[in-house]
């Protein structure tokens, strides 16, 4: 058998369009106005960001949406080798879920539990990237 081994190089490139649904649309639209929209389950009270339209635990639709501040607590952070961005998990104040996003600012000052705040981009379009990232604002 041949010493060389053959491989077929192929691309798979397919464009997708994901329908956001009412709750996530509300969230993305809110970002334009620097609002972070959370859902509140009327039974268990759970507040989720990005918002849900249905609570799977209580098995009921969610009708209440609130806006929370862009401030929260850093639950974790990491940098993928070779990448130039720092990722964080942020628990926004008053919510029960966490949001993954970029963390900006001085790496040395980051600690789990430190307070962070959203840095908003100018010219917002209704995308998660309307938030540039979260910046450390002290402990």
């Amino acid at each position: 058998m041949a010493a060389e081994s053959w491989a077929v190089h192929q691309k798979i490139e397919i464009p997708f369009q994901y329908t956001a649904g009412p709750a996530v649309t509300r969230f993305l639209e809110g970002l334009k106005d620097k609002l972070i929209v959370a859902s509140v389950c009327s039974k268990c009270g759970r507040r989720s960001v990005p918002p849900l339209s249905f609570c799977g635990r209580c098995w009921r639709p969610i009708a209440e949406f609130i806006s929370v501040s862009g401030e929260g607590t850093l639950l974790s952070f990491t940098r993928r080798a070779g990448g130039d961005v720092l990722y964080g998990m942020i628990q926004l104040e008053g919510t029960d879920s966490s949001l993954a996003h970029y963390v900006t600012g001085e790496v040395g000052r980051l600690r789990i539990g430190c307070k962070v705040a959203a840095v908003w981009r100018a010219g917002r379009t209704g995308s998660i990237l309307d938030i540039e990232g979260f910046r450390e604002v002290g402990n």
Binding site: Q17, T19, P22, S53, F54, G56
Partner: protein
């Protein structure tokens, strides 16, 4: 001795080209909510969940895990299947085996797809083997076109007979509130003049691409009797596969080794000697008009080469001897991850006597099939007894 297993409730979304009002997670919730309401159960009553979907259509890996809030999966055992067109029947069979094994009493089976998120023909083209097939592949349409050409050659079916299948399907669909394509005024001429996609397949010969979800509640014997006055008992299930490549089966469609094998297995297990007489209704995964006629032959509804005659004689119409696809079939709704399970759910509705305007009178025995992958077949027999 295995437990008896029955389908006791179903729920479907209104299948449609584009559900731009909900995301995938929310789409699933609609079907599951309806199934639970149909069974008068709470999500807490469900022991385990079986899910089927074709991830490449959404460009997703584990869409069911992202969607977990939508089907109440938190804390529940769940298994996810992905087998192509058969995935809805594969998933149903998994639920069946678990219940038959006595491992659970009440489970959910869910099939879902949102074709509008991606590009169906592109994703189906990557079904092709990257070395041997993909460059030539043209989605499901191209595949069915080459297969149909073989079948036409073997059986002599005509475009007019194919068009009659399309008319039957879309008119039947008018009685099904969940069907995507409901065309009360469709004519044979209209089908024969519709856009040519890939010779001999025209647009109206082919199934649509749909957004939709289906859910079923299945239960062990004791539970089933409590949950439904007339459950749809699963009498037999079978799967039969093909070989690896598209050109391996000698006369694709004309002779479907997998469909002959799977159907003969379930007929034998359910004591069906003459399927055309012994079955009261069939919900088959037909994909394209020519395929439906070929499947009549492979499922033993008629002799070889008689598929076209069957449609001419109206044997498979709502008023015929063996109504096929009262729901409108795949030709009228095709959210692929859900499609085969819709066949089972529709067959179950017929057996339970809950099929509304599309109900066939006095159904005791029903056949449901799934078809997909590289020409493989799933078959199930449901019964009122």
């Amino acid at each position: 001795m295995a437990e008896r297993v029955a389908i006791v409730a179903t729920g479907q979304t209104r299948h449609t080209a584009k559900r731009l009002d909900v995301n995938l997670r929310e789409l699933i919730t609609e079907a599951v909510t309806r199934a639970l309401e149909d069974a008068d159960l709470r999500i807490q009553d469900i022991d385990a969940v079986f899910l089927g979907n074709m991830e490449p259509f959404e460009g997703f890996m584990f869409p069911e895990l992202w969607s977990v809030e939508g089907w109440g999966g938190y804390g529940k055992p769940a298994i996810k299947f992905n087998t192509g067109g058969t995935v809805g029947t594969t998933t149903t069979m998994a639920a069946y085996y678990y219940l038959a094994a006595g491992l659970y009493e009440t489970v959910l089976a869910i099939g879902f797809e949102k074709q509008s998120e991606g590009h169906t023909q592109a994703a189906i083209t990557t079904v092709g083997d990257p070395i041997w097939e993909r460059t030539m592949m043209a989605g499901a349409v191209g595949n069915f076109a080459v297969m149909a050409s073989t079948y036409v050659h073997e059986s002599g079916v005509t475009p007019e007979q194919a068009a009659k299948v399309a008319v039957k399907a879309r008119r039947n669909a008018c009685n099904n509130e969940y069907a995507h394509l409901q065309m009360p005024n469709i004519t044979v001429e209209e089908v024969m003049q519709s856009q040519m996609l890939a010779h001999p397949i025209r647009k109206l010969d082919m199934c649509p691409q749909s957004d939709g979800a289906v859910a079923m509640v299945l239960a062990s014997e004791a539970k089933a009797k409590k949950l439904a006055s007339r459950p749809a008992w699963i009498k037999a299930v079978a799967t039969a596969h093909e070989q690896q490549y598209m050109g391996d089966s000698p006369k694709r469609l004309a002779i479907m080794r997998s469909q002959v094998t799977a159907s003969q297995k379930v007929y034998k297990a359910a004591g069906i000697a003459n399927p055309r007489k012994d079955l009261d209704v069939a919900e088959i995964y037909e994909v394209a008009t020519y395929a439906e006629m070929a499947m009549y032959e492979n499922l033993g509804f008629c002799e070889r080469g008689q598929g076209g005659v069957l449609i001419d004689q109206g044997v498979t119409s709502m008023e015929g001897e063996l109504p096929v696809n009262p729901s409108g079939g795949v030709l009228s709704a095709n959210p692929i991850g859900a499609t085969a399970m819709i066949r089972v759910a529709e067959a179950a509705l017929q057996v339970m006597g809950k099929a509304g305007k599309r109900q066939v009178p006095n159904v005791h025995t029903a056949l449901a099939t799934g078809y997909g992958g590289n020409a493989w077949t799933d078959a199930l027999i449901l019964s009122s007894r």
